[in-house]
């Protein structure tokens, strides 16, 4: 097992598995996409898969640990890892004692991402998700049309990125 893979595994255990056990709120696994502008963007042009996990910190705030992998045109040629903190704008994501939560929501996230495959390329981002359907109480949550800006510390520039969809399984 390569050193980078070991590091990713250790980070996943410390940043996701242990907090999930300690957190009183629900946790889930996430699948989705990541895209960005082709010219001067943070990532190389292509399609990217998004895999991660979320866990609740409070009624409205959740943490997210994720990895992004390039799928085309060169599959698995670049890996990225990151973490984000998300705030539910419209309603709480989860309430105690099985109280029902509002079905529709909006999210705003702040996060950090860096390339872990070929070069150290750290960046911070802010993301807005205008459409969030369902939540932990509904087994599944769909996040659609997310977009945001990302600041690349290496290239010292801002660029736009988006997640067409993110699906959370609880």
């Amino acid at each position: 097992m390569s050193g980078k893979l070991k590091l990713a595994l250790v980070l996943f255990v410390f940043l996701y598995c242990i907090p999930c056990i300690l957190s009183a709120y629900s946790h889930g696994l996430t699948l989705g996409t990541w895209g960005g502008t082709p010219d001067g963007g943070y990532m190389e042009p292509g399609t990217h898969g998004y895999f991660g996990g979320t866990f609740g910190l409070t009624r409205r705030i959740e943490a997210e640990v994720f990895s992004v992998v390039q799928t085309t045109p060169e599959p698995f040629s670049r890996f990225y890892g990151g973490a984000a903190c998300t705030f539910s704008l419209v309603a709480p994501r989860e309430l105690p004692f099985d109280e029902p939560v509002f079905y529709l929501n909006m999210h705003i996230s702040l996060g950090y991402i860096q390339q872990i495959s070929t070069s150290f390329s750290p960046a911070v981002f802010a993301r807005f998700t205008p459409l969030v359907l369902a939540g932990p109480d509904y087994t599944l949550r769909e996040r659609g049309g997310s977009f945001g800006i990302i600041y690349d510390f290496k290239q010292e520039n801002f660029s736009v990125f988006w997640n067409f969809f993110l699906v959370d399984f609880y």
């Binding site: 960005g36 082709p38 399609t47 085309t72 045109p73 087994t139 736009v160």
Partner: protein, 178 residues
């Protein structure tokens, strides 16, 4: 190229002619949104391609009954209309499974209908060198009024240059309207 187009037009006409006699499904027409990527061998733009298609499904989602879709694919964030091209496909479900491994992950009842499809891409950057394609859609979930497909694999072949390539359809959301 003209022969291929003629063949697809004939298929569309045949399916349209079958509409009045089709009573298996209340849903026949719809639109789909997809996200595609292609390998460097296809010589298409490396950026992800957003697809918008119209489809006709006159026979319902039973195995080996075809549907036809036609639409455009455009690379996201690319400020040039020269990279937009057309995509016409005939799809064929090969199985219909009510009990499938994904049912526990989903809120609504669904049927897994893995399928295959064949098609042609032309126009835009592919002007003068049309590409035929064959696709495998292993994860295709039918919810009655919509279909969700994930990770479809597409093999492409350029007739003029005799080169092969591949593509990946990350997702496809098809929604019936009529």
């Amino acid at each position: 190229m003209k022969r291929i187009l003629k063949a697809f037009l004939v298929c569309i006409l045949l399916c349209s002619a079958a509409l009045p006699v089709s009573s298996q499904s209340p849903w026949i027409w719809g639109y789909s949104v997809s996200l595609d990527g292609f390998s460097s061998q296809t010589k298409l733009h490396p950026q992800e391609h957003l697809g918008f298609h119209l489809f006709i499904d006159p026979f319902g989602k039973e195995p080996f009954l075809p549907d036809i879709s036609a639409g455009i694919l455009l690379p996201t964030g690319v400020n040039s209309s020269g990279h937009i091209f057309y995509d016409v496909q005939i799809g064929l479900p090969v199985l219909s499974l009510d009990d499938h491994p994904f049912s526990g992950l989903l809120r609504r009842e669904s049927t897994l209908i893995p399928g295959i499809s064949a098609g042609v891409m032309f126009g835009g950057k592919l002007q003068g060198r049309p590409v035929i394609s064959a696709s495998l859609e292993p994860v295709s979930l039918y919810f009655g009024d919509r279909i969700l497909r994930f990770l479809g694999i597409r093999i492409t072949y350029c007739i003029k240059e005799q080169t092969t390539g591949w593509g990946l359809r990350i997702f496809d959301l098809s929604h019936f309207l009529f």
